[in-house]
């Protein structure tokens, strides 16, 4: 530190002032250090993100994070040491009730122009920020087939919410029943509604070989608009009606939408009867169950 303007004893004019200033310790070596450390820091940030997502061992992504943060700390330190004078200053202490001193020393400015160094630092910081965003992707698993398949498999019995397998006769004329795959009660995407329509009224696009007794049809109960349970059956026009947004589906025509915001039919469950006379699934749904996904 070199004292500025002699001994600080001469400060009694009550004004803030710089009392010592050391010029920046910039050099080509210093610049090279900043560039190298920034590069290490940015690379470390990327390695952290990629290794974390790839499920690499803790030592790799943890080490990359540690190295990149320490390298950036070093680069920041060298940057300020190389570009800014180290300034010591004094200012009068405001007594209680005084206004804060209106004056201040001049803003300490950087010495010389080194746009590359600042860009390297900011770039490294941005890459580390990007890497640190990687944990967000860990929050949920990869969707895979989870949205394309349901719990229904060939030969699974349809059971009520109590777990009782059901026979075609259990659904009266004009009646409906909520059923599930055996052992998968309340598995949301597998919810099915059985409807008894007037015999012979079902016509394509209803798949007629999946209609039992010429009148009993199974549809996905999950609305294709926003996923509410399509819980209401209007007997006079054999319509399924969604209480959330009023989408209406014609059960005699493959549950095609006839009103409201739903754009897609409720998928029909391939259904048959087993040797003991219970209703069974012949397969999973053939069409996409529930709302669209991007």
């Amino acid at each position: 530190m070199t004292p500025v303007g002699g001994q600080p004893a001469g400060h009694d004019d009550g004004r803030p002032r710089v009392i010592a200033e050391r010029p920046p310790a910039g050099s080509q070596v210093n610049d090279a250090l900043i560039i190298g450390a920034s590069a290490v820091a940015g690379l470390g940030g990327v390695v952290f993100g990629v290794a974390l997502l790839a499920g690499a061992p803790l030592a790799i992504y943890g080490g990359a994070l540690a190295i990149s943060l320490l390298a950036l700390a070093g680069a920041v330190r060298r940057y300020f040491a190389g570009r800014f004078p180290d300034v010591e200053a004094i200012e009068p202490r405001a007594e209680l009730g005084d206004a804060e001193p209106a004056e201040a020393i001049a803003v300490v400015e950087a010495v010389g122009r080194r746009p590359l160094l600042a860009r390297m630092l900011l770039g490294a910081a941005a890459l580390i920020g990007l890497g640190l965003a990687a944990p967000v992707a860990v929050l949920g698993p990869s969707p895979g087939q989870a949205l394309r398949r349901t719990a229904w498999r060939r030969g699974m019995r349809l059971v009520t919410t109590d777990g009782q397998p059901i026979r075609p006769d259990d659904v009266a004329s004009g009646g409906v029943a909520s059923v599930w795959p055996e052992g998968e009660i309340f598995t949301e995407t597998a919810a099915v509604i059985l409807v008894r329509v007037t015999p012979g009224s079902a016509q394509p696009p209803t798949v007629l070989e999946w209609v039992v007794d010429d009148s009993l049809i199974a549809y996905s109960k999950v609305c294709t608009h926003a996923g509410c349970p399509v819980a209401l059956f209007r007997e006079e026009d054999s319509a399924l009606f969604c209480p959330c947004h009023q989408s209406t589906f014609d059960t005699t025509r493959g549950a095609a939408p006839t009103f409201g915001p739903a754009a897609r039919a409720l998928p029909q469950l391939p259904m048959g009867v087993d040797a003991d006379g219970f209703l069974i699934a012949l397969d999973d749904f053939r069409a996409q169950v529930g709302p669209a996904f991007g």
């Binding site: 001994q7 600080p8 004893a9 400060h11 803030p16 009392i19 974390l52 997502l53 499920g55 803790l58 030592a59 992504y61 943890g62 080490g63 994070l65 540690a66 190295i67 990149s68 943060l69 320490l70 950036l72 700390a73 920041v76 330190r77 940057y79 300020f80 800014f84 180290d86 300034v87 010591e88 200053a89 004094i90 200012e91 009068p92 202490r93 405001a94 209680l96 804060e100 201040a104 020393i105 001049a106 803003v107 300490v108 950087a110 990687a134 944990p135 860990v138 929050l139």
Partner: protein, 453 residues
């Protein structure tokens, strides 16, 4: 500055008029010393705690209901575990980065409390608590107690066997309050230990109540520092009571803080590779009636634990009330410790008849009362802390744990007393040898009791 950035700045400035206040803030002079960074370390540790804590909260399940773990840890696969512990096992073995963030969180928690304690030590030893800063000193003490609570609830949440045992001891401490203990314990636990309510409630304390209160108090703490300005060490030729000297916020204070936060992040990440912080999956879940050896709390509660261990057996059955040793050693004694810390600024002011405001720090050896009190006080806490390891010391040395406990009973009284007497005598002699009076090292011709101009 790129034109786009300059445009953004001028657009903001036209609306918010920030250029003038910003310039003033950038030029504000901050007293400069490495020990002034301890509080900043605590602040940045808290930032790390919040960031990693958000990630952990996404996976943690605050419940003690039993669930079956079906993940990739062979040790626990297929086992029925308390849901809280199960989610910790899942975080550790089945979530990418889960173990890293758990360890950084635990490491940052240790650092948070350690840096607050060192910050307190700095404030006490140098006299930064003196008028007009008593209020902020007390705010800091409250923050330290809240940090203990934050640490203890966090330590409890995994519901491993040590955590459950720690909760049991805390429950017993609450029970020991005379007259209201049973009610107090049931209010906090929602019934007799271990109710299903304790973990959900500790979770709310840990992630919502305590962080919110701590955040508000820190804002107040820093606001008061900004208003009163930081204290500073004496400097030859400058009257520190009239002038603030140090470095302007821009660039060096800014550079230092930025470097510090990066450095801390890097060190914590490195520590996660080297130190098995928080590997509670090795301890197993809490099951009532089962605990292993080395049942210690986290280090910052060793002093309370030590007091519990060496306090003589006591249970007074008075008419209508029972005074138990757990209350005296685990509640009353810590209460006296905190009250002593809180009262000290006023005691020193009274004893030396100090008046006026004090902005310049001092060497504790120049104030014999402070040197003696600090030495006695912190050595007492250290001996108590050491007493919390009596079982481990016994195992290491072969001396029976009973003998070690008796030694600690004597040491807890004798060591602080002897050290206090020695330090007071030394600092008095030192003052005499230099021909000084208390407080006379303040810059200028000021003596003890002189007000700041």
């Amino acid at each position: 500055m790129t034109p786009l950035f300059a445009l953004l700045l001028s657009t903001l400035d036209e609306r918010l008029r920030l250029r003038q206040p910003a310039r003033k803030t950038l030029n504000k002079v901050f007293p400069h010393h490495w020990s002034f960074l301890l509080g900043e370390v605590a602040l940045f540790s808290l930032v790390m705690l919040v960031l990693t804590g958000i990630f952990l909260t996404m996976f943690y399940r605050p419940s003690t209901d039993l669930v079956v773990y079906t993940g990739s840890s062979a040790l626990y696969h297929g086992q029925s575990l308390p849901a809280a512990f199960e989610s910790i096992v899942r975080l550790t073995y089945d979530v990418n980065g889960g173990l890293l963030f758990r360890r950084i969180h635990r490491g940052a928690a240790h650092l948070f409390i350690a840096s607050i304690i060192l910050h307190l030590l700095r404030v006490v030893l140098t006299g930064a608590f003196r008028r007009p800063r008593e209020l902020n000193y007390h705010l800091g003490l409250v923050l330290l107690l809240l940090a203990f609570a934050l640490g203890f609830t966090g330590y409890s949440l995994p519901f491993d066997s040590l955590a459950g045992t720690g909760i049991r001891v805390a429950y017993s401490e609450l029970l020991s309050f005379p007259l209201v203990g049973d009610r107090l314990a049931f209010w906090i636990f929602g019934g007799p230990f271990p109710t299903g309510d304790v973990i959900p409630r500790f979770f709310v304390f840990h992630v919502l109540l305590l962080p919110a209160i701590i955040g508000l108090l820190i804002a107040g703490h820093l606001g008061i520092v900004a208003r009163q300005r930081h204290t500073q060490f004496p400097r030859f030729g400058i009257d520190g009571h009239r002038w603030v000297y140090g470095k302007p916020l821009w660039p060096w204070q800014f550079a230092e803080s930025t470097t510090l936060v990066l450095w801390l992040g890097g060190v914590l990440a490195a520590s996660a590779l080297l130190v098995p912080w928080a590997d509670v999956t090795l301890l197993g879940p809490y099951r009532p009636g089962i605990v292993g050896n080395n049942a210690q709390p986290d280090w910052y509660l060793f002093w309370v634990e030590g007091a519990l261990r060496i306090f003589p057996p006591l249970e007074w059955d008075l008419p209508g009330v029972t005074i138990a040793g757990t209350f005296v050693a685990g509640v009353l004694l810590p209460g006296i410790v905190v009250a002593g810390l809180a009262a000290y600024p006023f005691i020193e002011r009274k004893v030396y008849d100090l008046r006026g405001d004090w902005h310049v720090l001092s060497n504790p050896l120049e104030i014999p009362l402070r040197a003696g009190a600090a030495m006695g006080f912190f050595s007492f806490l250290l001996v108590l802390s050491a007493a919390a390891t009596n079982d481990i010391l016994s195992l290491m040395t072969g001396i029976p744990v009973e003998t070690i406990t008796v030694i600690f009973r004597v040491a807890a009284l004798a060591v602080p007393t002897a050290l206090t007497v020695a330090v007071v005598a030394y600092s008095r002699r030192r003052l005499r040898a230099r021909g000084l009076e208390v407080g006379s090292s303040e810059a200028g011709p000021r003596r003890a009791g002189d007000p700041a101009p």
